[in-house]
């Protein structure tokens, strides 16, 4: 390691990755940040050389944006919670399966990742639509159709479906490190199966749950395709509003300002969550 550091060869070796990172992430983000401070005029468009805080003032004063941000975060939080509730037991069951079944089910869990989110969103809209499969079934049974598409329900359902693998995989990884005999020890000491889960297994997989929640929350809060296709024109989330600003209103600086705000709030939420959880478990579980 020190040879790499001393000769600078390490930097040379990581140059391609750094260039990619810089060119595709840092640069566009910086440009977006610059754009968010540009003056916008509906007649002329973006005025490159003039600066203003109007977009941010707008963001802070308009209750419309508050509503959008609030909705985005409660939906993301609920999706994260549901992913924990479904994903953690699923990962545990997976880790206890026998040899042929474990790999089969792991692949089954991962296959949704191989299908485009757009395709899956359309799949959900076929199921949930006003005359979709589910409503047809309800009507055939003599019930009245339920409005599901273009409601938070549809968005949350589809997001949980998409995000579940991102919860299961980190939890599964931490489960791999568990000593199975620790559970036997707890059982022999008089714990019930539920107590073993709560007092022995769960605390040890918290690092995995933490990474899972961070990934799921971050991806949900910035998700675009699912709210765009299943939320429709009424149920906006932040990413779809950014899209509107850029492509319908053509107000690029406003879109950029919302995007920057989303990034900052997302970062804030995730960092404080990380501190909160890690603070509780770091001492006992080490690095």
């Amino acid at each position: 390691m020190s040879v790499l550091r001393d000769t600078g060869r390490g930097y040379l070796l990581s140059a391609p990755a750094l260039a990619l990172f810089f060119g595709l992430l840092v640069l566009p983000l910086a440009l977006t940040l610059v754009l968010s401070f540009n003056v916008f005029d509906y007649e002329i468009g973006v005025k490159g050389g003039e600066w203003t805080l109007a977009q941010y003032a707008n963001l802070l004063t308009d209750s419309y944006f508050y509503e959008i941000f609030l909705r985005t975060f409660w939906i993301s939080a609920l999706v994260t919670l549901l992913c924990v509730v479904i994903g953690v037991p699923e990962a545990y069951i997976l880790s206890r399966m026998g040899t042929p079944w474990r790999s089969i089910f792991l692949i089954l869990i991962l296959t949704p990742l191989l299908i485009s989110v757009v395709v899956r969103a359309f799949g959900w809209s076929l199921l949930l639509g006003a005359d979709g499969l589910i409503n047809q079934a309800i009507q055939a049974l003599g019930g009245r159709p339920i409005k599901m598409l273009y409601t938070p329900f549809a968005v949350i359902l589809a997001l949980v479906h998409v995000m579940l693998p991102f919860m299961i995989i980190p939890v599964w990884t931490s489960l791999q490190k568990l000593d199975a005999s620790a559970e036997q020890a707890a059982l022999s000491l008089g714990a019930t199966q539920a107590q073993v889960m709560r007092m022995v297994v769960l605390p040890q997989v918290m690092p995995g749950v933490l990474s899972g929640t961070l990934i799921v929350f971050g991806l949900s809060a910035s998700s675009f395709a699912i709210p765009g296709l299943l939320g429709g024109r009424r149920l906006k989330m932040v990413a779809t509003v950014v899209y509107d600003q850029y492509l319908s209103e053509l107000n690029w600086p406003m879109g950029a300002a919302i995007a920057v705000a989303l990034l900052l709030i997302n970062l804030l939420v995730m960092l404080s969550w990380n501190r909160l959880v890690e603070g509780r478990y770091k001492k006992s579980l080490g690095e």
Partner: protein
């Protein structure tokens, strides 16, 4: 009636018989070791007693109560695992207190009993540490304390010392024996290390291919191994061909060829005498220094024989030296040939 009894205990995994018709009685306060090579069924037997593995046939009785199909929690046995199986997210004190909390013991009682058992295993100064901050030997003591604090009727030890280095292992052997004596707890230990089994057990149970082949006190087991396998597995042994003399006593056959008996002769029972005297003539091929002892490999007409002599401070014999070998004929042990197929 014995305190812990296994009656015709069997475990089958599909077509494989892991444990076959095992009978064992353990008296209250006794320290019994299950000794055998890996895969002999000793750990499976222990796991059936602990309740982690279902019993295929037979019964387990604890103090007259049938616990064959009881849940691990309701058996209330203390188990120490090979990996120690400590809870990494709890301090030493919380690890030890776990079993008492599960039993809803009052906080004051927990405090008192945990302190007492930590004292017993000499871990009081480390009570607030986490397992990863402890050495292997200390983790072992935590596991022991956690099992003992619930005052179980039987303590089960699964290869408790195999993860420790040699010096520490010996120290912990004596430590386990001291604690076992002090508490007076009935203990069953699984081990593949014959020295461990011999040094601290009241009785040793030798298992091979899922069956018990001999149950004896350590000294008697060493002096009177029943089979060829046991004589080689428990201590070192020279296996010799032999037959019976006119009076019916076993003797070694000095000409190469098939004898009708298989005899075992412990290396330390053989005397080295001047060449030309003794029962057998040989030449030192190799010698190894073991500190308190010398180990010689001696070539003789009936094959290579291992001899162990005490290091009494005199100069050892050089390689190539011609010697005579002698032994008291009553120390020859006749081994049964009816061995369990491996």
């Amino acid at each position: 009636m014995a305190f812990l009894q296994l009656q015709a205990l069997c475990k089958r995994y599909g077509p494989i018989d892991a444990v076959v018709a095992t009978d064992l009685s353990v008296e209250q306060g006794e320290f019994v070791s299950l000794l055998g090579p890996s895969g002999c069924g000793k750990t499976t037997t222990l796991q059936m007693i602990a309740g982690f593995v279902d019993v295929s046939a037979g019964r387990i009785l604890l103090d007259g109560r049938d616990i064959t199909h009881a849940k691990p929690a309701s058996r209330g046995l203390g188990v120490v695992f090979q990996s120690y199986a400590l809870f990494p997210h709890m301090t030493v004190r919380d690890n030890v207190a776990f079993g008492l909390k599960m039993r809803k013991v009052s906080a004051a009682d927990i405090e008192r009993r945990v302190s007492r058992v930590l004292e017993l295993v000499r871990l009081t100064p480390h009570a607030e540490r986490y397992p990863r901050e402890l050495s292997g030997g200390q983790r072992q003591r935590v596991a022991l304390a956690r099992a003992l604090v619930i005052e179980p009727p039987v303590l089960l030890l699964d290869e408790p010392l195999s993860n420790l280095d040699a010096n520490l292992r010996e120290e912990m052997q004596f430590e386990i024996r001291r604690i076992q004596r002090e508490v007076g707890i009935t203990t069953l230990m699984v081990t593949h290390d014959q020295a461990e089994a011999l040094s601290i057990s009241d009785r040793v149970v030798v298992m091979q291919a899922g069956r018990i082949t001999q149950i004896d006190e350590p000294y008697h087991l060493y002096e009177h191994p029943r089979t060829r396998f046991i004589s080689g597995f428990v201590g070192k042994a020279n296996l010799l061909r032999g037959d019976r003399d006119a009076s019916g006593a076993a003797q070694v056959r000095h000409e190469p060829g098939d004898g009708e008996l298989v005899l075992s002769l412990r290396p330390e029972k053989i005397d080295l005498v001047p060449a030309g005297t003794g029962r057998l003539q040989g030449r030192v091929v190799m010698r190894y220094f073991l500190g308190s002892q010398w180990l010689y490999r001696i070539e003789t007409p009936i094959g290579e024989i291992t001899v162990v002599r005490r290091n009494d401070g005199d100069a050892p014999m050089n390689e190539g030296f011609a010697v005579g070998l002698d032994w008291p004929s009553d120390l020859l042990r006749v081994l049964s040939v009816d061995e369990v197929p491996a």
